[in-house]
């Protein structure tokens, strides 16, 4: 999380799997944080939080200190996460209603929120709710509230779409979820800091900074100095 850290080119590994990306996110969540993990990939982050992290998970349907997904024997229809998956509760949990839950979020009380994305812009605009296709049925859920609410918003996504188009872009072409709300972007090929000062590459995975820069249509900066982990180093 130190913004003066040097860029590290990890040439010994990458592209990262979803689980490896989740592990990177988990590493950057401070001890004792209150965290909301978005539906889908971000939920993987929970599996990578270290023992004793004291991270408290929020689910926007009205709970703090949510536990892992319920095993078949634990399923309780009154206890689900925001993806409507049965979950469990941990000691010290609390329940509250939807207005209180989103007040907690909108009021900036969550330390970190982890979201998926279709696109993130160089300054941290987020597009993750609507493909923009004319016949698509719009559905936003809590995405816009999450995007603007947490103190830090981390995005997890592949860096390129299936058609090869980069998802980290100068300006989002998809309908926006929030303006300038993203702080960090974790992808299979690199991690980035985004914001008013533009885009900074923090780490690369399986590619060099120069290779990455060539594939993105962005004004990139690298974290000051470059340290390279060469291929073949035991990881």
């Amino acid at each position: 999380m130190n913004s003066t850290a040097s860029l590290v080119e990890n040439l010994d590994r990458g592209p990262l799997s979803k689980d490896e990306m989740a592990a990177l996110v988990a590493r950057d969540i401070p001890h004792g944080s209150y965290v909301n993990l978005g539906i889908g990939q971000p939920t993987l982050v929970a599996d990578h939080l270290p023992e004793g992290s004291e991270v408290v998970l929020h689910t926007e349907n009205g709970m703090l200190n949510m536990g892992p997904a319920a095993t078949p024997g634990q399923v309780d229809p009154d206890l689900t996460n925001a993806g409507k998956i049965p979950v469990t509760e941990l000691p010290g949990a609390a329940y509250f209603h939807h207005a209180d839950s989103f007040a907690m979020m909108r009021g900036g009380h969550l330390d970190v929120c982890v979201l998926g994305a279709f696109q993130v812009s160089a300054v941290g605009d987020l597009a993750n709710w609507h493909t923009g296709k004319p016949h698509a049925i719009p559905a936003v859920g809590g995405a816009m509230d999450l995007a603007i609410g947490a103190k830090k918003v981390f995005v997890m996504m592949t860096l390129f779409a299936k058609d090869g188009a980069p998802k980290l872009v100068r300006e989002c072409s998809y309908p926006l979820t929030g303006l300038g709300c993203v702080d960090r972007v974790y992808t299979d090929l690199a991690t980035f800091r985004v914001g008013p000062e533009g885009t900074t590459v923090l780490e690369t995975f399986g590619v060099t900074y120069d290779e990455l820069a060539a594939r993105l249509d962005l004004d990139l900066a690298s974290a000051s100095g470059v340290g390279q982990v060469p291929p073949g180093r035991p990881s």
Binding site: D78, L79, K84, Y95, H98, A99, F102, P138, M144, G178
Partner: protein
């Protein structure tokens, strides 16, 4: 006024008029007032505006109400789901109006209706298509969009236990929209799993005080 303890769900939804705005609780199945929705289908009110987080799943409950053509307009945060085929078809055929509202704004707009707030400036949705055409204002260096209350004629909610005065408690994440909707509608109908004597609920743990509740009915429990 004194709560009406109803004999069945049909009595609980009696009198809902055509053209009403109906707030429907629940998030997924948790807190969903299934028996009240089924009774509303039997009751027959049409031209309804439904305010709920989703737009129905499968072929039962809210989806069945939609399938009967009773709903003119739906206000929700997330209509599109893997099993929302009833809504999807009505929407594509132009037979239902849709207003998509961010989930927290949906809750806060109902809270505002219940709390007598005329409108509020929210940071959610600023710069997105859902704020288009809405008034914005910069306050303290941040941009906000003006949001207005959503008030219901009727709220149908699911809770865990009621006492005979109408105080309600919920269970786990089934609490969700119920307590907010209970403040935001003229007539509030709660289906509960159990009705206990007044005084049997600890006053410290009441979530929805009796003042908000007009009718309760025991439902949703296997006989």
């Amino acid at each position: 006024m004194t709560v009406q303890v109803c004999a069945d769900a049909d009595e609980a939804v009696a009198g809902i008029r055509d053209g009403s705005t109906v707030l429907v609780g629940g998030f997924g199945m948790a807190g969903m007032p299934v028996e009240l929705i089924d009774a509303l289908i039997r009751q027959g009110a049409s031209d309804l505006t439904v305010v709920s987080n989703n737009a129905g799943n499968g072929d039962t409950g809210l989806a069945a109400l939609l399938a009967k053509g009773r709903v003119r307009r739906i206000v929700c945060s997330f209509p599109r789901q893997s099993d929302s085929w009833v809504f999807d078809q009505l929407y594509r055929e132009g037979r239902i109006e849709l207003e998509v509202v961010p989930q927290g704004t949906l809750a806060e707009r109902m809270r505002a209706a219940g709390a007598g707030i005329g409108a509020f400036f929210s940071p959610t949705g600023v710069g997105t298509p859902l704020a288009e055409g809405k008034e914005t204002r910069e306050i303290g260096g941040r941009t906000y969009v003006l949001e207005h209350p959503i008030k219901g004629d009727v709220a149908l909610i699911g809770a865990h236990i009621a006492d005979r005065m109408g105080n309600l408690v919920y269970r786990k994440t089934a609490r969700n929209f119920g307590p907010v909707m209970a403040t935001a509608a003229t007539t509030v109908v709660a289906q509960v799993r159990e009705i206990v004597e007044t005084g049997a609920i600890d006053p410290e743990v009441v979530v929805t005080p009796s003042i908000y509740v007009d009718r309760v009915v025991r439902a949703g429990v296997a006989a």
